[in-house]
């Protein structure tokens, strides 16, 4: 283990330069986010991820944000275990009817001020799963959404661009 740790010390970090904040994401956000609330929260955001019915593809890429290449925590962003600790809910999937109540209750358990980031094409409008008896629709049909990050699934870079826009 010492060898691996030592190598990590002497080698250049893998972490890559931050991507530029996504322009359209900023525009969408500007409409929705209250500047005063942002000032109160400073530049650090705690994120609670909620899978409301995804195929798990989006989760894999959200996970990747924590790896050495993207290193999410350098931006003051971190994933937390409870909605009680969260400023941001990051919601994936078409919201299934079986998860609708759980998502609503997670939202209610998150203290104000809070933002909801809907991740993936399904979270936008149900995507390929819309029209099913078991699907309620996009995230916005259940809780108010501040930012959509599109993609199937969005790459970690696209996710970073969207999240940086939250802090811009």
């Amino acid at each position: 283990m010492r060898r691996i740790l030592f190598e990590s010390l002497i080698k250049r970090p893998l972490t890559e330069a931050a991507p530029r904040a996504d322009e359209t994401a900023i525009a969408e956000l500007a409409k929705n986010v209250d500047r005063a609330a942002r000032r109160r929260l400073g530049r650090s955001l705690s994120i609670r991820e909620v899978d409301a019915g995804s195929c798990n593809g989006c989760e894999l890429e959200i996970h990747a944000l924590n790896n050495a290449f993207y290193d999410l925590e350098r931006f003051g962003l971190r994933f937390v275990a409870s909605p009680r600790h969260a400023d941001v809910l990051m919601v994936t999937g078409p919201v299934t009817k079986n998860m609708r109540e759980a998502l609503q209750r997670t939202y209610d358990a998150t203290p104000d001020p809070k933002w909801v980031v809907a991740v993936g094409d399904c979270a936008l409008n149900g995507g390929i799963f819309s029209g099913s008896y078991a699907v309620a629709g996009g995230v916005a049909t259940v809780v108010p959404v501040d930012l959509h990050i599109r993609g199937c699934p969005p790459s970690p870079t696209q996710l970073l661009q969207g999240l940086l826009a939250l802090l811009a």
Binding site: E49, G53, C55, N56, I62, G93, R100, F129
Partner: protein
């Protein structure tokens, strides 16, 4: 030697390929259930359709047969009554189709949590909505017991499901799962869909196994419509499948260690996983390789510089991975958590037909790439390793060996890759038939069954390996401590979405 299908009495449906489907009577259906209960056959899948139930079984030599029982009166003899691995399937079939399994010991709903605003949504005449009722969890009796409810929203970045633990102090006496939260109605959406749309849906049954699902689906379609896939496409598919396997195994290896708070392994494996996904992206234009396998071949050829990227990945993995394996082997505090934890007895693995590392860590040598087998794996040299210990450690070691085998296989694929077309041309509008596919995903065998009429899907069923692994997780956790559940759970890494569909 007669094939398995030839030994079963009944009416033969020749449109089902490669072997005919057999319509049996109730006695034949129950006889099949008894042969599984006796350990002669393994249950491969059990699914409903309009006024009938289908069952896929596997006999000696991994021969597969599909049986059908017509049940116009809405009832059929329960398989779960004699063969427990069928119980959850029959609960799901009743939720979706309203077909009643006579004699099923557990009559509680499975996928229907009471929120669909309809009952039996896939039946010809769906029923009116019924208000959700409290779910009766199985009882545990004894002094000093307490319950720990977990989920559906979990603490990590993972899929939703509910776990109900009953514990005495730290010791778990019973775990009961309640799933269905991510049920999206995929089989409903597939009914009446074009092959293109259905292939996309299959690729989104479980995102971590999108290649395996797309491949199983493509195999089923190709069997049904008797399509021949060009050799280059066959090898490119295997390249995609092995990249998916190592990406997931790298991720799991790190994540299991992370659940024992050994974060350095998580970080190092995360690098290898990311490099694998970037290589996949460079080769096929998608990090998870979604929508690249289509019936008849692959949607696009590998990028010009793709092969070099893959060679670099192999070199990188060969240079780094052995050190991580050595670190795992030599860290006593980590082994203390994984050795002897969450033991799955080989007998249970055999009874449930547990696939993937779950089965192979408990003595079940089955690997769909070897038997029944499919191209190109017959041309490639690799071995399937098994262990008997059945603990978390064994499931880690199986993954490690599979990574090594897959790396060697990818090298062979690069070496063998012929020139030529990457897809067969066909006109689905003119074609009909039924077929099945069984593909070894990273987690185990993914089963797909399809019926096509004039290029339109009339019924498609997908069965995730997790159907047989989830119930075993309930069994292995008994008598372990609550704090070891994440380790056991991650060592299984069952799919929620693939199971709930």
């Amino acid at each position: 030697m007669p094939s398995l299908a030839d030994t079963i009495e009944g009416r033969r449906i020749e449109a089902h390929r490669p072997r005919p489907r057999i319509v049996v009577n109730a006695a034949g259906w129950s006889a099949a259930a008894n042969r599984m209960a006796a350990g002669e056959w393994t249950l491969l899948g059990l699914w409903g359709a309009i006024a009938c139930v289908h069952m896929a079984v596997m006999g000696e030599g991994a021969e597969i047969a599909v049986l059908t029982l017509e049940c116009a009166d809405g009832e059929y003899p329960s398989v779960g009554a004699v063969h427990p691995p069928a119980i959850r399937f029959e609960r799901a079939i009743r939720d979706l189709y309203g077909l009643i399994p006579l004699g099923l010991p557990d009559t509680r709903p499975w996928l229907d949590l009471g929120f669909w605003e309809v009952t039996h949504p896939l039946a010809v005449q769906p029923g009116a909505a019924v208000a959700p009722t409290p779910f009766p969890f199985l009882p545990s009796e004894g002094g000093g017991l307490h319950q720990v409810p977990v989920g559906p929203v979990h603490a990590g970045i993972i899929e939703p499901g509910h776990f109900r633990f009953t514990a005495n102090g730290e010791r778990i006496v019973r775990l009961e799962q309640r799933l269905g939260y991510v049920h999206k109605g995929i089989e409903h959406l597939m009914t009446g869909a074009s092959l293109d749309k259905a292939a996309q849906l299959a690729g989104r049954a479980s995102g971590d196994s999108t290649v395996a699902y797309a491949l199983a689906f493509a195999h089923a379609v190709e069997a049904a419509l008797e399509l021949t896939v060009p050799p280059r496409a066959i090898l490119l598919r295997a390249l995609m499948a092995e990249l998916e396997r190592i990406a997931n195994h790298f991720g799991d290896f790190g994540a299991i260690c992370n659940d024992a708070s050994f974060a350095v392994m998580h970080a190092q494996c995360g690098i290898l996983r990311e490099q694998t996904l970037r290589t996949a992206d460079a080769c096929f234009g998608h990090r998870l390789v979604m929508d690249r396998i289509v019936p008849g071949g692959v949607a696009r050829d590998i990028a010009t510089r793709g092969l070099d990227q893959v060679r670099m990945l192999i070199g990188e993995a060969r240079a780094r991975f052995p050190h991580l394996v050595e670190l795992y082997d030599k860290t006593a505090s980590l082994q203390d958590r994984t050795v002897g934890t969450g033991i799955l007895h080989p007998e249970l693995a055999r009874q449930f037909g547990a696939g993937g590392y779950v089965g192979r860590a408990s003595g079940r040598a089955f690997d769909a790439r070897k038997a029944p087998g499919y191209a190109p794996y017959g041309w490639l040299s690799f071995y399937v390793s098994t262990l008997e210990a059945g603990d978390v450690n064994a499931r880690v070691l199986i993954r490690i060996r599979e990574i090594e085998q897959s790396l060697a296989m990818i090298e062979q694929i690069l070496h063998e890759l012929p020139h030529g077309p990457v897809a067969a041309t066909f006109y689905p509008e003119a074609r009909s038939g039924e077929g099945l596919g069984l593909v070894e995903g990273f987690r185990g065998d993914v089963f797909a069954w399809i019926a096509i009429e004039a290029g339109t899907v009339t019924r498609c069923h997908l069965r995730d390996p997790s159907w047989f692994q989830w119930p075993l997780l309930e069994a292995v956790i008994e008598d372990n401590i609550v704090a070891d559940f994440p380790l056991c759970n991650k060592s299984f890494n069952c799919s929620y979405s693939g199971h709930d569909l």
